[in-house]
């Protein structure tokens, strides 16, 4: 099959199970295709022997009669997940060539479900960025317009899925790093409730915010991946929620309770925060989002005006808490045990300074400095403590909103993908572009991006859906119903 890169997860799994192709054939095809499109900058590493060995093992399981929704399906991992047999760099020179002696829980759970690891995907250094131009290795290009960013920090994952280099990929989202690149590249991505996916084996950026999630071409494929990825891991991650794993595909295609097949979302109240639909959002983005919301009305949903009054505060709050945690999390990269060590130094302090100055890129250094500052004696109460207080209020605002609606909807980002280099010299402009995704992360809520059409320069626009805690199943059902009625998620960038 020459076109098997066009198959999504479900279709590819079925084709492999039905022996129309094999896992090995799919893996070989996708490896070749990934290499052919290396100019996108999506992949950072391959291990062909290991990939094919995993594919052979999957084929053997299939031959033995086993069936599984991911069995034999090649996937790729954001380079934030430590993965045995591949280098894990977190997009940083600091970890060039680093080999982990263990797999991240998310990686091992997907492997246990029979998925095959195709390679490691580029990202912003230590997941810090929203354009994937902070990777120490190469910027990632958006397949819809290679002069534009794919979004970040999971830009490699987004570009690879959008360019049909891989049917699905893992991503991580700290302040929007799954949802925003999904929006920019016209794919579907979901960040589950904080604590739903184990953080064990994720190179930490901001511990209280980091969360893994799947990125794929459809809500249904995301549901399949998330089912394998999520679940309790309390023996390895103390912030993992002790809540049984669930089957996120269970509600797909079912009408809501009391609804009909013609209007499957009847009774669904979609809350539209007025703060998400104001002047800050580009008209082309708003137009696409509003059109998608009309579609939801056709499916039976009702639109409700709500308010998330502290939306603007989510930017300063996030850019205090995330760097604070990062400044501490990244202290282990000191040149002593692993990672980059300067070749020449005078003494211990000099070794630390040189190793860290050489190993970390400018955005990482900037955030370490901000974080160190806000935690410093005399500033801690004014910044960190205050930010944590507002964070709690932001979470309360969401709970207030969920008394009026079941799902919150709005844009993922204020604009479509920008040109590579356009915002490189303006970190604040980058930070401001995170406004619609940060509050969800601060509250620990599940959020997703669903392709909703196209905006300026014919670039994709995503619709953001946010649910209450543990409502991933309902979110995916809501997104799936939309994708049954529309074909935005099936659009493929030209040339791919």
């Amino acid at each position: 099959m020459n076109e098997l890169h066009h198959l999504g997860v479900a279709e590819l799994a079925a084709a492999i199970a039905d022996k129309k192709t094999s896992s090995v054939e799919a893996a070989q095809h996708l490896l070749a295709r990934a290499k052919e499109h290396q100019n996108l900058g999506a992949y950072l590493a391959f291990n062909e022997d290991l990939t094919l060995a995993q594919a052979q093992a999957a084929d053997a399981r299939i031959a033995a009669g086993e069936r599984g929704l991911l069995l034999g399906v090649p996937l790729a991992h954001k380079d934030i997940f430590v993965t045995q047999g591949f280098p894990t760099t977190a997009g940083s020179k600091m970890l060039a060539g680093y080999q982990s002696p263990f797999d991240a829980t998310v990686v091992s759970q997907l492997a246990a479900a029979g998925a095959v690891t195709l390679g490691k995907l580029n990202c912003d250094e230590f997941a810090m960025g929203s354009g994937n131009d902070n990777s120490a290795y190469a910027p990632v290009h958006n397949p819809w317009d290679t002069a534009r960013v794919p979004g970040g920090s999971s830009g490699g994952s987004a570009a690879a899925v959008a360019a049909r280099l891989v049917p699905a990929a893992t991503g991580t989202d700290t302040g929007g790093s799954i949802r925003q690149p999904a929006s920019f590249t016209g794919i579907t991505g979901i960040k589950p409730t904080y604590g739903r996916c184990s953080r064990y084996g994720m190179v930490a950026f901001a511990s209280s915010l980091d969360q893994a999630g799947p990125m794929a071409r459809s809500a249904a494929d995301c549901a399949t991946l998330l089912t394998a990825m999520a679940g309790p891991d309390i023996d390895r991650d103390s912030t993992s929620l002790d809540h049984p794993a669930e089957d996120y595909t269970r509600l797909l295609g079912l009408p809501r309770e009391g609804a009909t097949a013609a209007q499957p979302l009847k009774g669904l109240r979609i809350g539209l925060p007025k703060e998400f639909f104001g002047e800050g959002c580009a008209p082309d983005v708003l137009a696409a989002v509003r059109a998608a919301l009309s579609e939801y009305e056709k499916l039976g949903a009702t639109l409700v005006d709500i308010s998330l009054p502290r939306t603007e505060l989510s930017i300063p709050v996030y850019y205090i808490i995330a760097p604070a945690e990062a400044s501490s999390n990244l202290s282990r990269f000191d040149g002593v045990k692993f990672g980059h060590r300067a070749a020449k130094f005078d003494d211990l302090a000099d070794m630390y300074k040189k190793s860290r100055s050489e190993g970390f890129g400018p955005e990482v250094q900037r955030r370490i400095m901000i974080g160190t500052y806000v935690l410093s004696h005399g500033y801690y109460d004014a910044y960190y403590v205050k930010a944590q207080q507002i964070r709690r209020l932001i979470a309360q605002d969401f709970q207030q909103a969920f008394t009026q609606c079941d799902v919150i909807a709005g844009p993922v980002a204020p604009t479509v993908a920008w040109k590579i280099g356009e915002k490189s010299d303006d970190p604040v402009a980058n930070y401001l572009a995170d406004i619609y995704t940060l509050s969800t992360s601060l509250a620990g809520l599940p959020g997703m991006s669903v392709p909703a059409g196209f905006g300026a320069a014919n670039m994709p626009v995503g619709l953001q859906l946010v649910g209450n805690y543990f409502k991933e199943g309902e979110l995916l059902q809501t997104a799936h119903a939309f994708q049954q009625a529309t074909d935005w998620h099936l659009k493929t960038p030209e040339g791919y």
């Binding site: 894990t88 103390s238 400044s327 501490s328 000191d334 935690l375 004696h377």
Partner: protein, 486 residues
């Protein structure tokens, strides 16, 4: 507490003020946030797992056993055990600190308040605790074995510690050492720490300052890592003298961290307040607050051994011992058990207490042994006490019996008494004969006594005892001699 205290002993007119911070290594099988073993003395870096090495992606998971040990300490010292306490990161760079931060507790520790009581001589002292918090130990830097480089051994990294902090309630080095010994006794008694000071399982930092009585607290210097009671006393005494000297010479004391050098007997400043780091403490986002349910505390309480002070109270109650004896005998569970066995088997509690605190302890101290290594069993001691009580042997003769039992020369009390001919002479006829002989041979002394010199009486008793080769019952000798002299 200071208001109950007798006047503090002054040194050259200065009052000494001491507070303690003690790191007790918890005797858990595995580390505080990982499953790696905590064995001491293993080959470098063999007791450290990915979490201890801080490999990317690793996360801490609390060891329930370490929390339970903290609860035990809190229960033993009458502290409040926080329903919710918070782990915080203490950020600093050092090669033996793999994460670049230590996980500790800062604003809300698990154990809050409480006190440690003990005797200093026969004065009862109480030192108030501020807190005890859970934290992880760092690894070790090895400088000797490598030329021009340092090695890092992370075996100790992540070993659970309880840092136990007192108020500045102690007023002398002797009191400080007595406090440290009492705390040491408590943590080993309740089984949360092996107490091995040489291996660093129980390390003390002493905050020392001096002031004129009634003045504000002086500036303190912290003596780090005191790992023996002897050094503790020496270090504090040196530090006190040094501080007084400085002040007398017109110099202000600078807040500093100092190390004690046992070779020179001096303390030496490591760093001053100016280069104190800003640790940027903040709650560890990898660890939710530590929640301790009331029933967990109750469960731990139900499994607590009888505590030294409870046991001491019981010994006073049951055996009519003075409080001093009861406190001394409850130095360790083994000592207390030894006493109780001997007291019960002999029916002579106070005598047992005297012998254990006196002869037995003196011999053990001379040989640097503890009660676990005592060569005379409690039952054997009890048999001897019975022989003293029934007048078979005198106290002095009994000491000779102990010598024989201790050295292994004999093992049966009666056999030793027999073999050594130590049986007390209880036949008054024989004793009268000896007394008559002694009086006849020492006529001048008899005269002196009769002339009013009472001292001569004791000399005569001594001579009678000697003539009887120590076998005379001293009381009987006393009585008979008195009769005859009248």
């Amino acid at each position: 507490m200071s208001d109950k205290k007798q006047a503090s002993p002054l040194v050259q007119g200065y009052e000494v003020v001491i507070g303690f911070e003690t790191h007790a290594q918890l005797a858990t099988q595995s580390k505080i946030f990982s499953r790696a073993p905590t064995a001491f003395g293993a080959e470098p870096n063999t007791q450290a797992c990915a979490v201890d090495l801080a490999l990317p992606g690793t996360l801490p998971v609390m060891n329930r056993g370490a929390v339970e040990h903290a609860i035990r300490l809190g229960l033993a010292l009458g502290s409040h055990i926080a329903e919710q306490s918070v782990f915080a990161r203490k950020n600093y760079f050092y090669p033996d600190l793999p994460k670049g931060y230590q996980i500790s507790q800062f604003e809300i520790p698990v154990v809050q308040g409480g006190e440690v009581s003990f005797f200093l001589g026969d004065e009862k002292k109480t030192v108030r605790l501020v807190r005890a918090h859970l934290e992880e130990d760092a690894g070790k830097s090895l400088h000797e074995e490598f030329h021009g480089m340092s090695g890092i051994d992370l075996n100790r990294a992540g070993t659970p510690l309880l840092e136990i902090v007192t108020e500045p309630d102690m007023r002398s080095s002797a009191e400080a050492v007595a406090y440290a010994k009492e705390l040491h006794k408590t943590v080993t008694w309740i089984g949360i720490c092996d107490g091995n000071m040489q291996e660093g399982s129980f390390r003390c930092d002493a905050n020392v300052s001096v002031r004129k009585p009634g003045a504000e607290l002086g500036t303190r210097r912290e003596i780090k890592n005191l790992n023996s009671f002897k050094f503790m006393q020496q270090a504090i005494d040196y530090e006190v003298r040094w501080q007084i000297e400085q002040i007398e010479d017109g110099h202000a004391i600078q807040q500093a961290t100092v190390l004690f050098d046992p070779d020179t007997g001096e303390t030496r400043a490591m760093r001053t307040k100016e280069d104190a780091a800003d640790y940027r403490y903040f709650p560890d986002p990898d660890l939710p607050p530590l929640v301790i349910a009331r029933d967990w505390v109750e469960q731990v309480k139900a499994n607590m051994p009888e505590l030294p002070r409870q046991m001491a109270a019981r010994l006073v109650q049951t055996y009519g011992l003075p409080e001093y004896d009861a406190t001394t005998l409850t130095q360790s569970p083994a000592m207390a058990a030894y006493f109780e066995t001997a007291a019960k088997a002999s029916g002579q509690a106070k005598m047992a207490s005297n012998w254990i605190m006196g002869e037995v302890s003196r011999r053990l101290n001379n040989e640097e042994k503890d009660i676990g290594q005592v060569p005379v069993s409690a039952d054997t001691l009890a048999a001897l006490l019975k022989r003293i009580a029934d007048g078979t042997v005198s106290n002095n003769a009994a000491k000779q019996v102990v010598d024989a039992l201790w050295s292994g020369e004999g093992s049966d009390v009666d056999a030793v008494i027999e073999a050594k001919g130590l049986k007390q002479m209880n036949d008054s006829g024989a004793l009268e004969k000896i007394i008559d002989e002694v009086m006849a041979a020492n006529a001048p002394m008899v005269e002196q006594f009769r002339a009013g010199k009472d001292k001569a009486f004791n000399a005569l008793v001594g001579l009678v005892m000697k003539a009887s080769k120590g076998k005379a019952n001293p009381q009987q000798a006393n009585d008979l001699l008195k009769q005859k002299l009248q």
